[in-house]
């Protein structure tokens, strides 16, 4: 390979790296503005709808009791459907004990037991089982357009105002809205983990705070801006769906949720391409536990990355749908391309640094002269552009979410967030390897309260 060919190849990689970086900066600017300008919207009357919480459980004995108690106490007229996915612990027994209370039975609490080999095949299948049970329970005369299914994780805590917020005129009050996603928060941002060393406790707490920052700022901003592109996506926790919307995509087998690792995003794709609109509201939230363990966090994000890669198969469906605008399809394609762009970026971005290292090894004095005579400015500029789109969320989180004016702490949080985001370069590669090796099982991340020294941090199906 001659020098000119090498220069051309380097220039091509440089052009793609610059385009990807600039595209990301533009994207962040575009999503920050509507997020910061958004005002709370009016609420509606929850009595206009019938609410059914679906709680899929696979070995959730450590958290399910408090979750069911919370849901039953906070939403007295809502039904709670706990799907026991053939748990190997006492999950089903805990739910049955809650069902039998005060000498009678709780008519609002339902247990959906599943048994292997049908069970433990994925969260989507567990939710489909609850959907089928609900269908049988409702009967044929039910006003299905007024029934709303709410998916909540076994450790989820939907805020007390979530039903009135979702019943609003612009959300389920609008008959064209098929699903609404709540803002997600972490419930343990002030509770350090029970660990021996202070470094470990501080790290665990910071990791949980980063997850809170991510969901309440960057993800909320992405979802808010998707209101303009008509592509608001669903999450796995705090996912509200109108029963008629589920019916429209359930097919003959009565299975609205599909089998990818990102069954929540998949649901949103099916709803949007079927002509439903989706909504997002930060006026209410669902709280869940942030992970303290880096290993568990990496497993969770690997699963999400792999799920996003799997959902690339929906690109054709999205672009072919007359219900999705070109801007919306482009936005969804950009989202689905993220793990692939991270893979590409992890290959492209280091190239200039490797070349610099090679040059430095060859002639350190010349490289130093080049660096000190102006190249440092380039490093400073491109370093800033690489970090600022992440750092910006720190002060935003500090001021908007925590109502604290300590900007310096916010910048510190933003820098930690930049480091946190760079873990995605690792998880995208792990996701690719799993995909290539055909390991598409449901890796359920263990909860913080599950102490399992020496065993896997996730459960494969």
């Amino acid at each position: 390979m001659n020098v000119n060919t090498l220069k051309v190849l380097l220039s091509i990689t440089q052009a793609f790296a610059l385009t990807m970086s600039v595209a990301f900066i533009v994207y962040v600017v575009v999503i920050v503005v509507p997020y910061l300008r958004r005002k709370p919207a009016p609420v509606g009357d929850p009595a206009d709808f019938s609410w059914h919480f679906f709680v899929p459980c696979r070995d959730e004995q450590t958290v399910i009791r408090e979750t069911v108690r919370y849901l039953r106490a906070t939403f007295k007229h809502a039904h709670v459907w706990v799907v026991d996915d053939d748990s190997e612990d006492r999950t089903a027994r805990v739910v049955r004990s809650l069902w039998r209370r005060n000498g009678g039975f709780d008519p609002y609490l339902h247990l959906v037991p599943r048994r292997r080999p049908e069970a433990r095949t994925g969260k989507g299948d567990a939710l489909n089982a609850a959907y089928q049970e609900l269908n049988g329970w409702l009967g044929e005369d039910a006003r299905r357009d007024e029934v709303v299914v709410v998916v909540v994780d076994a450790d989820g805590r939907p805020a007390a105002n979530c039903l009135e917020v979702c019943a609003a005129e612009h959300l389920f009050g609008d008959s064209g809205i098929g699903a609404v996603q709540l803002d997600v928060r972490m419930s343990n941002v002030t509770t350090p983990p029970l660990r021996k060393s202070w470094i470990s406790r501080a790290f665990g707490l910071k990791l949980a705070q980063m997850q809170d920052l991510e969901f309440r700022t960057a993800i909320a901003a992405i979802q808010t801006s998707r209101g303009f592109t008509g592509t608001i996506s669903m999450g796995g926790n705090g996912q509200f769906t109108r029963l008629t919307a589920l019916d429209s995509i359930a097919g003959d087998t009565a299975q609205p949720w599909r089998g990818s690792l990102l069954e929540d995003f998949e649901l949103g794709v099916h709803l949007l391409t079927a002509g439903w609109r989706t909504g997002f509201t930060p006026d209410s939230h669902v709280a869940q536990e942030g992970l303290y363990s880096l290993r568990r966090f990496l497993v969770q994000r690997t699963r999400w990355g792999q799920g996003t890669m799997q959902c690339a198969r929906y690109l054709r469906r999205i672009w072919d749908s007359p219900h999705v605008s070109t801007l919306g399809a482009a936005e969804m394609m950009y989202y689905l391309a993220q793990p692939w762009m991270q893979l590409l970026g992890s290959l492209l971005y280091p190239i200039p640094f490797i070349l610099l290292l090679v040059s430095t090894a060859g002639d350190p004095a010349q490289v130093w002269a080049w660096f000190s005579e102006g190249a440092w400015i380039l490093f400073a500029i491109y370093g800033s552009f690489g970090l600022l789109p992440f750092i910006v969320w720190g002060p935003i989180y500090q001021v908007k979410c925590l109502r604290n004016k300590n900007i310096l702490r916010g910048i510190g949080m933003g820098m930690a967030y930049a480091l946190y985001i760079y873990t995605f370069y690792i998880t995208s590669w792990r996701a690719l390897f799993r995909l290539v090796r055909g390991r598409n099982g449901w890796s359920k991340t263990r909860r913080n309260t599950e102490h399992t020294p020496g065993v896997k941090v996730a459960l494969d199906s």
Binding site: A15, T326, A330
Partner: protein, 164 residues
């Protein structure tokens, strides 16, 4: 077919990148000869434009592959091809947005060259080139790239006005 044509055009650009760079310095020479009076010369064989020839500090700017806009067009071609593949019905709009955005990329690079020339005239060769080639040049590239991307997305995805 159209997708293949767009991809083929991108490949052709890579192969004719040197001719493209000569074309770029010729445009720079043309613009400089209009807006300056101190003498401009383009040497195509060296992909270089010389300016300030009648002054005390003439300078030549060589359009290397790294400085050229030719490769910045490739991502635009790639995205156009992907969008064309998924929604061929948008072909006319996509070709139009590609043409406008490509023009913007070329103009941004010319603007970068002009910024360097302007700073050299203002601050002298050493300091002017130093700031022009590093700080201002990079800022122009990033901001120009951002404007180009917004332009491309807006033109290629905007809704057609409904006729009443």
């Amino acid at each position: 077919m159209a997708v293949l044509a767009v991809l083929a055009l991108a490949v052709v650009l890579v192969f004719v990148e040197r001719a493209y760079r000569v074309f770029e310095v010729q445009i720079s020479g043309l613009i400089l000869s209009v807006i300056t009076t101190s003498g401009v010369e383009v040497v195509g064989e060296r992909e270089t434009v010389y300016f300030g020839l009648s002054g005390a500090t003439p300078l030549g700017l060589r359009m290397t592959p790294e400085c050229s806009s030719v490769f910045m067009l490739l991502p635009l071609f790639l995205v156009t091809a992907i969008m064309l593949w998924f929604r061929p019905v948008n072909a006319r709009r996509l070709f139009f947005s590609l043409a406008v955005s490509a023009l913007a990329v070329i103009l941004v690079n010319q603007l970068r060259v002009l910024a360097i020339v302007g700073l050299v005239n203002w601050l002298g060769v050493d300091e002017g080139y130093y700031w022009g080639h590093t700080l201002l040049g990079s800022m122009v590239s990033v901001l120009g790239g951002a404007i180009t991307l917004v332009l491309f997305v807006w033109l290629s995805t905007r809704k057609t006005k409904q006729v009443a």
